[in-house]
Symmetry: C2
Subunit: 427 residues, 2 copies
């Protein structure tokens, strides 16, 4: 398929500058083949899209989520993290079947693509079902290993890593484990050994709550970051999810090792976990990616709300000039891709994967057009997502889910799942 | 016109309980004539709307805004309040004509209705143009007096009050002045005198920044709330916008006088003004309404983002159980109406004005339906606004602005206004 976008404002994100160029973007099969001024012979177009000045961006990269947790949206609210995990999440997740996870992941993917997210870094169980949902819907999914004391070993992690990194072009896997506080030192050491064996980066939940950091200090006399680093965990890169309660030393380790701090402000707000030191990370040159966390703690998968929170919470802490909106947009579109190992999706340039979104500027919240990219971060909303393309395929357009036959069936099944779990759990 | 909504989930907000009932809602001309189980003879229907289980709510009431400031959206960002006001807002507003204000208010109204807001409490200049825009678009606008040392007197305020309270059913006026820090004591005293003359409530910006409170203490030895109360300003009710830096004594004055604290979290975040004591207000029984503030400081007019911030910021400060989502929804739909003097729009009950919105639950961010009202606050978005009705007229439906002939014309004119102001101001 050859698709031509014309009359487009384009933010290619060739670098951190949110430069806007007016021109065309050509897609051939899964790749971008031209950005900017047309040159050379036009292709034989299967489709030509007049963007009417609308904005093309690399899609948002949701760099930390638990997609299938859609079933607990608005079910388990208003509790701090550990109560929420131990009283609601862990007991209720036990009732989920593989088919449930397929349905619930599909529901999350619908929310991703309707909000302009083209890839997710997903940590959940039963990856066979997660990946099947992604493949069936044309969504790009990077699995993050999630072993911990409740399940998984070095061997299962290696097997998954090998299996999912050759399964399908939309699917990949990155090494990971759930968190220091749910994983024994022996198993953590196994993960580090595997990272060395595979020369691969590792991601995990890190310093989400004050309690977690204090627990780790009691156990090992060090912060989670320092403890994991002392085991060689990050010798081949990686990063942490949340990273709310970071010391300057933690930040320094992240900077010197080139690790990604994945911030999850919506979830940190709702679970009352705290405000991460994002402004400091940007100033110190730590790579910042953005995730929603799962839909049971956020409670949505909305990158517009998330981007506003990333900059807004820093302004509250450090003043109105903090955490430039364009840096946040770069994190959302580009740095997140790098964190997930998707450097082929981190910009709109020739040869890159055609993962992109069209932002409708012809809506009142985007007018007048004083600054397109600040409009996206400060006043954008899911209503502005006119089109979402992944690997050259349009998966969402003008409110319609192109790759989902019957959205209502997904809603019905999702409601049936939580109804069944309510009955089984007596909740 | 007789309009029948059926198969609806309805949150009538007869009281603060966010009770959901399944049934019908009948509208005849500007009024609601039935809510719940159908009884009596059906009317002769001009239109019947199958809600398919979607949610009917009283519309959101934006209880503090400066609508026409749309022209500065993403133009003057990343500054604290006083710099932003003195360097950007005040100098650039001087270039606005009445026709500009008509266009820019219309742009804001488009954003209101597309986001489910059915009424706004607007503080701006040239009310003739503001009200004409509201009347032409079928939007409900309550003007808040805004006199200060740069313009306006007791007499002009009285004239406006009398004029706009009899102009049109969609328009009303409440006494107000800009703020203590922009208004001389003599003029403030005049407003208080007028409140006594008219037995009317008064609203003003109050304690938005720490600087403002300190300035007032230097001038008068009291907080703004205490100072204004000492002048008898609130003897007939009223309230304050922002109220970020409130002492317990300020809260006590608001409680004992039945005043409305109108919170503006998005703006307070973006201008780094601080976090208002909303949780304390709810606990102490202070009436809490919600506003976006103007689109140049927020930078949008999105009540979904606003509601999440109202509860989210309190959770950050006081724990995950703080500031119940249903209380926030009640503030948004109902308390805001009371603050604005629109008690006829504060619930979906027989005899009340037909100001309502339909929330589309058939979208992935609202599924599964574990808790409809929490879904609205925690995961809702403007994409969920399927229909907005004001005074019995549908003004927005499925992305279309029913009362605006040509949205593109409003966008073109808005861009022309800021282009002209850029040239004139050399900015």
């Amino acid at each position: 398929m050859n698709i031509r976008f014309f009359n487009a404002n384009i933010v290619p994100f060739r670098n951190a500058d949110a430069e806007v160029i007016l021109g065309e973007l050509w897609v051939s099969d899964d790749k971008i083949v031209l950005v900017g001024e047309p040159s050379g012979a036009p292709l034989s177009w299967d489709r030509e899209i007049d963007c009417r000045g609308n904005l093309l961006l690399p899609g948002f990269k949701n760099a930390h989520t638990h997609s299938a947790m859609t079933f607990l949206r608005s079910f388990a609210d208003d509790k701090p993290l550990l109560d929420w995990l131990n009283e609601d999440v862990f007991p209720l997740e036990k009732f989920l079947t593989g088919d449930d996870i397929y349905t619930l992941t599909t529901l999350a993917i619908m929310e991703y693509v309707s909000g302009g997210t083209t890839a997710a870094f997903d940590m959940y169980y039963q990856p066979d079902y997660v990946t099947r949902s992604a493949i069936d819907t044309g969504f790009r999914m990077v699995l993050c290993g999630s072993i911990n004391d409740f399940g998984g070993t070095k061997e299962t992690l290696r097997d998954e890593f090998e299996k999912y990194n050759k399964l399908h072009p939309l699917i990949s896997q990155v090494l990971g484990f759930h968190a220091e506080y749910t994983t024994s030192k022996a198993l953590i050491k196994d993960v580090s050994d595997l990272a060395h064996e595979l020369c691969a980066p590792v991601f995990t939940h890190n310093s989400e709550t004050r309690q977690e950091v204090e627990g780790c200090k009691e156990r090992y006399g060090m912060s989670p970051t320092k403890f994991l680093d002392s085991l060689g965990m990050f010798d081949f890169g990686g990063g942490g999810f949340h990273c709310v309660h970071f010391t300057d030393e933690d930040t320094q380790i992240f900077k010197s090792r080139g690790l990604y701090a994945v911030t999850n402000c919506g979830s940190n707000v709702k679970l009352a976990s705290g405000i991460p030191p994002v402004e400091k990370w940007y100033r110190d040159g730590v790579k910042v990616a953005i995730g929603t966390d799962g839909p049971a703690s956020n409670n949505c998968l909305d990158f517009f709300r998330e981007m506003f929170l990333v900059t807004g919470l820093q302004k509250l802490e450090h003043g109105a000039a903090s955490t430039d909106a364009n840096l946040v947009l770069h994190s959302a579109c580009s740095v997140g891709a790098d964190a997930m190992g998707l450097s082929e999706c981190n910009s709109l340039e020739c040869g890159k994967q055609a993962d992109l979104i069209m932002i409708d500027m012809h809506r009142p919240n985007m007018q007048p057009v004083n600054n397109m990219t600040k409009n996206v971060v400060y006043s954008g909303s899911k209503e502005n997502v006119a089109l979402t393309m992944i690997r050259g395929n349009v998966v969402y357009e003008n409110g319609r889910f192109v790759t989902i036959d019957d959205p209502e069936e997904i809603y019905r099944k999702s409601n049936a799942i939580i109804a069944r779990i309510r009955r089984a759990s007596g909740r």
